[in-house]
Symmetry: C2
Subunit: 494 residues, 2 copies
């Protein structure tokens, strides 16, 4: 895990406690298509947003809507709202905008006449793929395939990706159990009425604090917030503790290793217990960093040992990279930080990849057609955009940008929590996938609203965490803008 | 149900048994953007498709792929493949292409510079909707809202629509049970670990032969084919028999009414039984016509009584219009044929609507934000296309076109089954949502392959059924092309 940021150097940054950050890169020219700073005209949500909220409230629950956006006017890292407020956006549509708003390369995809038909005629990919489909997969998703994986299945969103990844693991597991023989007549008959053995009592092991989506299968592995799960029927599947580490990780190596050992022991106990209950664990699903659950990290050693436990007990190992994938940690996949040759059996993705889907090892390929299937199975127009996003990532060395900006951001967060120890703690991160805790949820929410009114739009997660999920084009220049605003807000809080 | 086609008139059609259909509309000019007929160069799949199949087979299971398509060259009702074969397409990407390939109106959406940003910046609709989002909903989805419904939630696909519709019904049901009080601490705690009462043992009643999607929640209500369900864990939810009617419906009114009464009785028994089991039925889900399960119809009287049973037992009534919605039955929603003022509590859609989603009554609106939520919650670029599709449907009176073409198609199918009674039977349909059974699955498959090689691409469903799912721009001219080819194939089969 690349958390070996030059943390000591924060002491030498050229600003006094409480003063504003001085941008070391202010002279650097900003990409021509972007604005240079936030610009606020009203409190957020402004009057236009409030009127639209009222209108939309007649149609949908709008309790989660922050404000309405003017996407035409948004550029790069800056999100413009309908009241003309321009904010530095470090939440990026719940971490799903890879290279900023209205990137010229993506605008070009739209104006290329060769692409029109891909948008206008959405195919049923599982039965009638377009001519260029294998080529587009090779040039986009397969060019970034995780270690050991040559097969990929696209899906429309993160939840469908995880649902189908789970199905792939169940099918693989039962085929193993059957010795790859055909299913019995009894299995075929019972599956039609939801009964065992056709619909077997298999389970997926997940972790407390995990988030893997909100459809019923995914939701049975999601344990981040009660509001997601309340009143929805679920499966009796095992839930292991996720390590609760102390930060900075380098300062608590021994304590954290103990905590991780405790959790791994519990994982093995649960696998055995659920096998005895007649609900064997077909797969283990885990995020490289628990995001929605509060930005919880674990060490490469933890993941390596967990991967071995999965192998030992014959469970598939599914790494959910829906939020960590796409370059935000400084490597393309979060699990690359573990340094394993054989890190996973299944890797699912969505968000920054613009299309959902999952990679899997050859061994897990479905044995028959129509077992993993739906009408659309993804959307080739999203693959077009993804190809271009990958070109930009390569051309502009965005993984290096993320690593550099991430170091500056984490360093700045360390400084802030030293300055405001009664307000902030537990700064942590990998690449720009950073977070910091407030002393309580009310303070966290208040900081976020004040920052927003000063032109900084951040996300929250867990109970009292602020999460940073900027686009990959978030430069050090933007880091300093962020830190300046946050510093101003905290200074007022004092 | 509008099955009162002038069936007797088929006897007077001006062609002799065994001869080719004479197009009565041959003089009518074909829309300028469309081809005028199929044109075949190779057997299907041709050599280029076969080479691409090999390539894609390295990446995915391609067992369900028919052939590869040249979508650029496809027009209207004609799908062109990579080997230059041009087929009359009456399956339309599993019933998901509303107004044919490359419709000029949809091409225009793409070339309108005002729309570019909607494609390039996919928002997280639940937190940061675009300025025009309420307007676009009003002009598209709300302009076609089912009777009694003013609220709609978009989703990315049919499965996510049904999953979230189920969740909406569970939340509504538990809120009723709690008397709209806040959940207890025990409920909040237990839901985090998948246990009752927080994750209650509620159920959804579905029907044998139903298809509602393939994610784990949906799959527990899907009972059309074993290959969809085998090896996937499921819920112990009640499954009622769907009426097995005899066709033509008008000739078996008494027998069919008896069969429907039997099924309705079973529905009530199951609701009582599952309540006693401690797994009360929160909702009943049903398709207006079971599609994937074999194009099974039921009468308006059946649906009316079922709706009353749902009300009597306090279950929500969810009509799944994913395949029947969008005009294909001659009305915009399949359930409009029932003639009820109060047909449903929830109506889900996808496919021809281009975006997934569901409408629901005010009473079912989620009481809190983030209960029905995900990152994207649909895709506004699909709403842009939908607005234009609705304009075309209105401007070109496509519901009337569907009704007219549907009558001609069903009439032709009646004629064919009279001509080939040893091969075909049970012709049935509503609008162009038509089907006919072959004597067995091998014959069905053989007819479909032979027809494809003559330029007619059809779909299958159930055990031995051919299903017709043309686009809404399928005119009588195309009906006669279809019947001519089918007639030729059957004549050879004789």
């Amino acid at each position: 895990m690349e958390l070996n940021v030059e943390r000591d150097s924060y002491l030498f940054i050229n600003f006094a406690l409480g003063s504003r950050y001085v941008s070391k890169t202010a002279t650097k020219s900003v990409s021509e298509f972007e604005y240079d700073a936030p610009s606020m005209k009203t409190a957020v949500p402004g009057p236009k947003s409030q009127e639209l909220l009222r209108q939309l409230g007649e149609i949908q629950n709008v309790g989660a809507v922050h404000f309405f956006c003017n996407y035409e006017e948004s550029r790069g890292n800056y999100l413009v709202d309908v009241d003309g407020n321009r904010m530095l956006d470090v939440y990026t549509q719940i971490s799903s905008i890879p290279i900023g708003y209205n990137h010229p390369a993506l605008m070009k995809v739209m104006t290329n006449p060769n692409n029109v038909s891909t948008f206008v005629n959405r195919p049923a990919l599982g039965i009638l793929p377009p001519e260029n489909f294998p080529d587009k997969l090779i040039e986009s998703l397969l060019s970034i395939a995780p270690s050991g994986m040559r097969r990929v299945q696209t899906m429309a969103c993160g939840s469908c990706s995880n649902e189908n990844a789970f199905k792939t693991m169940f099918i693989w597991y039962r085929n193993k159990e059957r010795g790859y023989a055909n299913p019995s007549e009894h299995e075929v008959d019972t599956c039609m009425i939801n009964q065992s053995p056709g619909c077997p009592d298999l389970s997926i092991l997940s972790f407390m604090g995990a988030f893997h989506g909100r459809t019923l299968g995914c939701l049975a592995t999601t344990h981040s917030k009660a509001i997601h799960k309340l009143d929805i029927p679920s499966f009796d599947w095992p839930i292991a503790p996720f390590p609760k580490l102390q930060y900075p990780l380098e300062e608590f190596v021994r304590e954290n290793a103990q905590e991780e050992a405790r959790c791994l022991e519990e994982v093995e106990d649960l696998i055995v217990k659920w096998r005895q209950k007649g609900k064997p664990v077909a797969g283990i699903v885990i995020e490289p960093i628990q995001a929605e659950g509060g930005d919880n990290h674990a060490s490469p050693d933890f993941f390596s040992k967990l991967r071995n436990i999965a192998r030992k007990h014959g469970c598939a190992f599914h790494v959910d990279e829906v939020q960590t994938g796409g370059g935000t940690t400084g490597k393309f996949w979060g699990h690359e930080h573990w340094g394993l040759d054989d890190p996973a059996d299944v890797v699912s993705f969505s968000k920054k990849l613009l299309t959902g889907g999952y990679y899997h090892r050859d061994e897990l390929k479905p044995d028959k057609p129509y077992r993993i299937f739906n009408t659309w199975m993804g959307d080739p127009s999203k693959n077009l955009f993804l190809s271009e996003v990958l070109n930009v990532i390569r051309r502009e060395n965005l993984l290096e940008v993320v690593t550099r900006s991430g170091k500056a951001l984490l360093q700045g967060l360390y400084t802030l929590q030293t300055q405001y120890p009664h307000i902030l703690s537990r700064a942590r991160g990998q690449g720009t996938f950073c977070a910091i805790d407030a002393c309580n949820d009310a303070t966290r929410d208040s900081i976020m609203i004040k920052a927003r009114n000063k032109g900084l739009f951040m996300g929250s997660c867990g109970e009292k965490t602020i999460r940073f999920r900027p686009a990959l084009v978030f430069k050090e220049y933007h880091v300093h803008q962020l830190l300046n605003i946050l510093n101003d807000v905290l200074a007022e809080h004092k």
